[in-house]
Symmetry: C3
Subunit: 444 residues, 3 copies
């Protein structure tokens, strides 16, 4: 059997495993595309088109969906080398009856029309779920998202907490939090009460994880309750406190070092730690997505403004990992350079597990490298293979296919060909990281 046949056979076997996708941005009330615009409006396409020369003009609200699709396809020839382009071709082929190998601007109208027809089918959502062998998919819920009106065993709630940690200084966020919980945030105790209520609500609705994305310089630490108190009061309006309390003297060196000598930073630290405490109490894994800087490219397209400083380290999380042995932390890192730390920390800390291939690392070159490292050195029960991060269900299939191809190659090269595993055993290892671990770690 040739090398390619082995890899193809493994891929084919892996494709038969039903999926539970542990991270996405699906709207459970509108999980599938309504128009091709919903597909090509995915930020990967708008940002690549913009980066390759497209102005902001076609992205204005007043431009018709058809014209926007044409504009983006009109720039695709400049990035048809990318894996994101390959996802789109596969969507066109799998879901829109497209039979070609390349999509160009000449296909714009035909594809748009095919989309209108396909997406209008009353059972479209069901078709996509079946074709994708997708059993369940995790959501990314703001704390005040409604969790009603959908099957939470299929669309699994997950409490996303970026705004609680990083945006409590915004009156609007505190207002929303008060509306959601009935608790006005004025000090540490009220914040704790509000967070407890959120967790109780989400847990009751079947939430399976708490999640957050973190900037590269974030360093969790336990803030004294009294300092959190004063910090929240400073944020919440008592401006006389800001300077008096947070001049840097009261904070430990580690805080100043990590740039925490502001009320906002103090609240971030305190709120984050409080979330971890509630993950412990409510027995929820805490997904950490580490390393993103927001709004780096100020004139970027929507969701296409974020980049990073690769100089970050999991050593910043040592206090957290030590303080919460009973909380499982599925960790996503933004860059392949962070993967060796993730491997080593997962190999040593019982409560640290590897989680997928995030964003700028979600291309075959990085997945191959990071996955190969993980499979050689991290216990197989501590690896969550992949998540789609999709905004519409149609992306689950091509993204998982990309991952499954890399997984098949890796199993073939590193396990079957060197004689360490049979094909059947290799597929079982694949199933463990694709599916079994998601079930066990998130208790699905």
């Amino acid at each position: 059997m040739s090398a390619d046949n082995l890899s193809r056979d493994l891929y084919s076997a892996l494709c038969g495993i039903p999926l539970i996708d542990p991270h996405s941005h699906i709207d459970p009330l509108a999980p599938v595309a309504k128009s091709l615009d919903d597909i090509l409006g995915y930020h990967y396409y708008t940002e690549l088109a913009h980066s390759a020369g497209m102005s902001h003009e076609p992205l204005q609200r007043e431009v018709s969906a058809r014209d926007r699709v044409r504009a983006i396809l009109g720039h695709m020839g400049r990035f048809d080398n990318t894996v994101q382009y390959a996802w789109f071709v596969q969507i066109a082929r799998e879901f829109l009856g497209f039979t070609g190998d390349k999509v160009t601007v000449a296909d714009a109208d035909a594809l748009f029309d095919a989309g209108q027809k396909a997406f209008a089918q009353p059972d479209w959502e069901k078709q996509v779920l079946q074709k994708s062998k997708l059993e369940a998919i995790f959501l990314t819920n703001e704390f005040d998202d409604s969790l009603d009106g959908f099957d939470t065993r299929k669309y699994v709630p997950c409490l996303r907490t970026d705004s609680i940690v990083f945006h409590l200084d915004k009156p609007k966020v505190r207002e929303r939090l008060a509306d959601a919980t009935g608790v006005e945030i004025g000090d540490a105790q009220s914040l704790r009460k509000a967070i407890w209520k959120l967790f109780a609500h989400f847990k009751a609705k079947g939430a399976k994880a708490c999640a957050i994305s973190l900037p590269p310089d974030f360093e969790p630490f336990k803030l004294a309750e009294s300092e959190l108190d004063r910090a929240i009061r400073a944020l919440a309006g008592d401006s006389t406190l800001a300077k008096a309390v947070f001049g840097g003297v009261q904070f430990a060196k580690s805080i100043a070092g990590a740039g925490h000598a502001t009320p906002q930073a103090a609240v971030a630290a305190g709120a984050f730690w409080m979330l971890a405490e509630h993950c412990r109490e409510f027995e929820l894994p805490f997904d950490l997505m580490i390393g993103v800087n927001r709004k780096v490219y100020e004139s970027g397209v929507y969701q296409g403004q974020d980049l990073f400083d690769r100089r970050t380290s999991l050593i910043q999380y040592r206090n957290l990992f030590n303080a919460f042995p009973d909380v499982t932390f599925p960790i996503s890192v933004l860059t392949t350079g962070q993967n060796q730390e993730l491997v080593a920390y997962s190999w040593i800390f019982p409560n640290v597990v590897t989680n997928g291939h995030w964003w700028y690392s979600n291309i075959p070159a990085y997945i191959r490298r990071d996955l190969g490292e993980r499979l050689q050195a991290v216990p197989k029960t501590k690896q969550i293979g992949y998540y789609s991060d999709a905004y519409k269900l149609e992306f689950v299939l091509p993204k998982y296919n990309m991952y499954r191809r890399v997984l098949a190659d890796t199993l073939a090269d590193d396990f079957v060909r060197p004689g360490r595993l049979s094909e059947t055993e290799a597929v079982a290892l694949g199933k463990r990281i694709l599916r079994d671990n998601v079930r066990e770690i998130f208790d699905v």
Copy 2:
């Protein structure tokens, strides 16, 4: 067709594409070697020989070229595993009629003599250009280099600006600048005037780029004109200003953080920003070569003293990239660890493009990795594949051959074998990054 045949066919097709080499250190008045000493005097060989045990003695001026060649070849057996050795064997075979597979010290005299004969041919330059299919090659010009006496469409001027940014504190540099422009540098306005004159002159002579190499901790920012003024005056001799003005208080936090609280650092920041403004005005790309520390090994051979601190990030350039959307920044990074940032920043910022494989990353292992990542995630129109960095034209061929081999392997493995491109399409993709983008980005 076997895997190797595919890769070989692609390589062969890529070798047929005429080259425009967008970065070198060629002297247009002495572009080719005059003796084998000019080849083996390339710092790669002197530093490897020295690192492997050769003293400084054979490098002294009074040693004859023949003896120096013998000394370096005498140490080559200790580094005949390196890719730099492979370049030399190829030069010997392609240009000196050498027919062996290995070069040893026993070949020293024969090769030296063959060199004397070959290099003395009156049409040697033409022969090398033809054999290398080299149409044009960019120079690295000091601001006061003469741009006369050669065909600037073949030897394309490029304004190198390290000395303007980092050495204005040296009276000799200010003198040279005054000689070149007729402007005495005494304040911000006179610096601006001098730089404008340089750009006008270079542009008139057909320059196609401005370029600079930068230390790992450099962080561009816009300095207030008044502060640049005072900084230049401090540098230019008004020593009473140094302490008064640059005690750190007047500088923004970002300056102090980046170690800019000296007049010299302030001038560096101000001059750099001014260069970017002139790139915008004169519509020239600004090549940034990021990450080198000069003179780390103090007793190293000539040009063999520079190393680096890999802890650098493109986040340091966020202000620059945001402030100059109309300037194209072809970015070279020194380490493969920086490549993912380069990929991500090029994928997001329209004005950031990837540029070649620089110096310590210019070996197949790093090129393969970095190129593979770029081809999967950066729009193909935003990738400048390679430059030779050569000091003599004879190096263009072996260095590009090394790159073309890696490019052929990458196209075979990542595009043709997985069925994403046909062979013909793969060669077209290769041509785009080898040639088309150089023409379009630098307007050649």
Copy 3:
């Protein structure tokens, strides 16, 4: 010949080369296992089992060896994907007559019994040495280890200096040092005298290297003798000195920057520099193992608590490398991200050589990458291929086999298949980095 055959032939030829293992933790008076517990008690197994869910309970002293083995094997099914598991299967097959492909908890008793029988053979040590083709192996000796009672040409002493540099603040360490040398440590001069005596003793006993492991933020520099004096006096008990002398003012900026403004840090810097001076005087290489943070996971198993901050750079060692051109520094780095610096610094500095694949980088994925880079760019005479880091001799064989497999693949892919070396030449290159360089660099 198929690709696999080439790689297998090279592997087989490499396996015939007798080994000199330049770094281990072997106890020369108990070099081999006495029970399977000695094998599975290796921290790789205890930490992986613990990370995969095993409590500390089976590791308590009062638990029987047989029960502990059963507990660890009981968790192995959760990490049978790892390369460490593969080492164990190989040990079972090579040394314990095991004939299966997988080891499970069902094999616990049989393997334990087989171990009791095998390890009890009076010539077991000799058998292991012969089977492993191991001629000599370096030890890791505390300064007060006895160097008597064993053949120091087979078990080569090596002075490990972590405690001298980092733990002189502990009275117990100063006491031990006084006992070993007859010198009470009270100032710089007495420390120098004690270190001189240690070196003289170790050198007389056939020591071939001085070694140390260093945290990621360590930055060597030459401390003024008078400051070292005061720092030692502060450590040694004169507490009134601590604040007066080490307020930061007396230290150069680089010291404060690296966090050296404590007596302890000052002593570390001073003692380290002194060790380098003695390496020069006694003509011993100074092995630097760079990048480990101790006790990061506070509740980890014995030797399973250490991790790292990957943000470290060899630029921190520029002063050291420049100051000691006559001392050879074999450098081990903890992460693959540091490898490019190691490649570049070895390529430039005559006194820097690459040394093995340490700890968290000692898995095939990282070895393949790091080795490939080194072989393309570092003089072949400056590369120490591998060391086992073993605590018991039984680990030398499986660990070197892992390395030899990767080496064979690398030679096949990067040298033989591209036509750069014949198979015979490739094996010679392998022998150079596996054996010849160990002999030459350590003068064995």
